[in-house]
Subunit: 417 residues, 2 copies
């Protein structure tokens, strides 16, 4: 199936905003086993919009158009869609009533220019937008089915999932049941995970399981797209594959599906009525910033300290170079003085000199509870920002491992030893 | 001048990576007064690449192609460029020698597949890449001049600025001297600033000044593109316009050109041998994370505290609802107990209930030195993340104003009063 995406709007074309809608749509299609073949970006201009619609209508089977459904004069998608389809624009009474209801529920009068949003090509099928006034629609242009979607990301996301993807899947003749299973890991590079998972797809002899990755350093997302005749069939296929991924990636899996590393940490602490204090140096509050604002953190996150002078407040004498004893003394003192059940210290000695690609830092990590303390030393290269990102993730992952009863010290691909 | 951009690569087409190169290129062209008319995204596929090159060659004057210059088999740009131009691929001896030198300087032997990177269309003009092995080149396809650039962002950025933009400008017949002046402001919305700057372009009667904006909440970038016959002419045109922007936006300008808000704060503190301590609640370390990691911060940033329980460590009794006296007591105690010359406290009372679009927070900001303290109260709506972003920026901006001797309390567009 030949799928194209057309993104419209001067703000996208001039680079004023980065086009995250494109990558979002392409990924959502990949997740259900469909691929985009061609992407086009054009501005709010009648001539180029018409050329883009006609061109895609000649060569594609399905086209998703994003943007241009707003109430202002530079929103042209409905008008040009009607022109390209060779039909009139007509008032869609159902959508007009929905919009009037939308405004009256918010105690506002609908401005007259919003009526434009209810003008659709005569042959269009309406695609519902439950959270906005931009009306989606589907229409045939050339040999392709076009799906028009709003530019506002949260409206696009909902319409894509509920209205557009199911229609494209139905046209593609793909099996009705599809599920995406995701694993988030930390510490193994993409090619390493790829190698560890060799032969995984073959565990389902029907070929219903597809493996993919999405790297956002320092985390890696492993994605399993599973297709079946129905959801029972999907879960039957998924069970042995999921078990195998958990076995092969083991301790390196930090979260699954919509979970996050910080969410897993917060949940584990809550479960044991724990509280947390964090001491940071060069990571400068980034660990606290990941955890302390979350709903529920107000009773768990006890204290965060950011300092570039380690002997301050916790009364520990710090030698010119850090060592294990000092790190453990700092984390124990922090825990005692802030009254938390758990403390995490991530202390960093940066290399000297200017930032450069092989600039590095030595990371000293300590974790303490009343009865126990753990220590890990690591070295990360790659420039100041890379060291900082790496240290945040490594420190949080050590805490996750500690809370889950896993070894805190286990070699990762991103460290230099 | 009709300019198109073609982005190539499966990683971009499948949405595995977000295409920030496109917006970067489009912005760089806008900054020198040029506009992109059409954007195309295609994968590593011979047939679609050829179709994309031919199509752009028929309708554009200049085309920038990004990606596909690497050493692996799926890097196809040179091969398809030669095919579209109707010429042979030939070995470019000069680039081969540069690559061999590149590897030998790093004490490595060049792998044989890198030779592919020195194969260019016979009619190509080489575009230098001083920091990588991907060789840029320019070649005519159809009626357009094509510029082939590497996908690695830092290589692209350098080649675009040094090689591609000057060549496109020369072809466009635009004046030789162009300068981009940027102002970063906080507290005024884009339409408000647009209105405040009404008539600004007319200050230069030759029409050589173009005004533009780029919003990245909570900051706004105001851009002046100035064209002239030479740099003296540009600076002559720029001086009165720059003075007028400073006058009209006044206290709301937080930084200019490559400066940042955190950089301005750090510099102002350094200049008075100051040190800083920060107390945060729901902003959860984001203020510390902006300042404390910067080069030079190791002697200025004294201490950061993140807590959701305010009475801890600083010994201030906090009533059920915050007030001015408590905020000032906390910031004074923090300054004294951490031994800094300056302290900033950004304390937040969040609304109750689930996150929603009108979810808000009340922000209590205190600043203290040994002899003086300042206070500001604000209210921001827009959901948890919006409140957090807004509070970080407002707190930092109050400190900037304090350090620069400006009023700390001045109404901003983003607060509800």
């Amino acid at each position: 199936m030949n799928i194209e995406i057309i993104c419209t709007g001067d703000e996208v074309l001039t680079g004023k905003i980065t086009n995250t809608n494109f990558s979002y749509m392409a990924q959502k299609l990949e997740d259900v086993g469909l691929s985009v073949r061609w992407g086009t970006t054009v501005g709010d201009d009648r001539e180029t919009l018409l050329a883009a619609f006609r061109q895609a209508g000649e060569r594609a089977d399905a086209v998703i158009v994003n943007g241009g459904l707003g109430p202002t004069v530079d929103d042209l998608s409905q008008e040009i869609a009607a022109q390209a389809a060779g039909v009139e624009l007509v008032l869609h009474e159902e959508w007009l009533a929905k919009m009037q209801d939308f405004f009256s529920k918010r105690s506002r009068t609908m401005p007259p220019n919003n009526v434009k949003q209810a003008m659709l090509p005569a042959t269009a099928e309406m695609l519902d937008n439950p959270i906005g006034t931009a009306c989606g629609f589907a229409v045939d242009i050339g040999k392709a089915r076009f799906f028009f979607t709003p530019g506002v990301p949260r409206e696009l996301r909902r319409m894509l999932e509920e209205q557009v993807v199911p229609r494209i899947l139905a046209r593609s003749g793909a099996p009705t049941a599809i599920h995406l299973k995701r694993f988030h890991s930390y510490g193994l590079g993409e090619s390493h995970v790829d190698q560890l998972l060799t032969g995984l797809e073959a565990l389902d002899p029907t070929g219903g399981v597809k493996l993919g990755f999405r790297a956002h350093y320092p985390q890696l997302e492993t994605k399993l797209t599973v297709r079946g005749t129905d959801m029972d069939d999907v879960h039957r296929k998924l069970a042995p594959v999921t078990a195998e991924v958990r076995k092969r990636l083991g301790n390196f899996i930090i979260a699954e599906d919509d979970q996050t590393l910080e969410g897993v940490i917060l949940k584990a602490l809550s479960a044991q009525d724990g509280t947390l204090s964090v001491v940071e140096t060069f990571t400068a509050g980034q660990i606290a910033a990941r955890i302390a604002h979350m709903p529920g953190a107000e009773t768990v996150f006890r204290h965060g300290t950011v300092t570039r002078q380690l002997d301050h407040l916790f009364g520990v004498t710090v030698p010119p170079h850090l060592d294990q004893d000092t790190t453990e003394a700092v984390v124990r003192a922090a825990r005692e003085q802030t009254g938390a059940t758990h403390a995490l210290a991530v202390l960093i000695e940066l290399d000297d000199g200017a930032d450069r690609i092989d600039f590095g830092g030595t990371i000293w990590i300590g974790i303490a509870t009343a009865g126990r303390s753990e220590f890990r030393r690591s070295r990360i290269l790659g420039g100041r920002e890379w060291v900082r990102l790496g240290a945040v993730e490594l420190g949080m992952d050590c805490l996750r491992r500690f809370l889950q009863g896993l070894p805190v010290v286990e070699r990762i691909d991103f460290e230099k030893t």
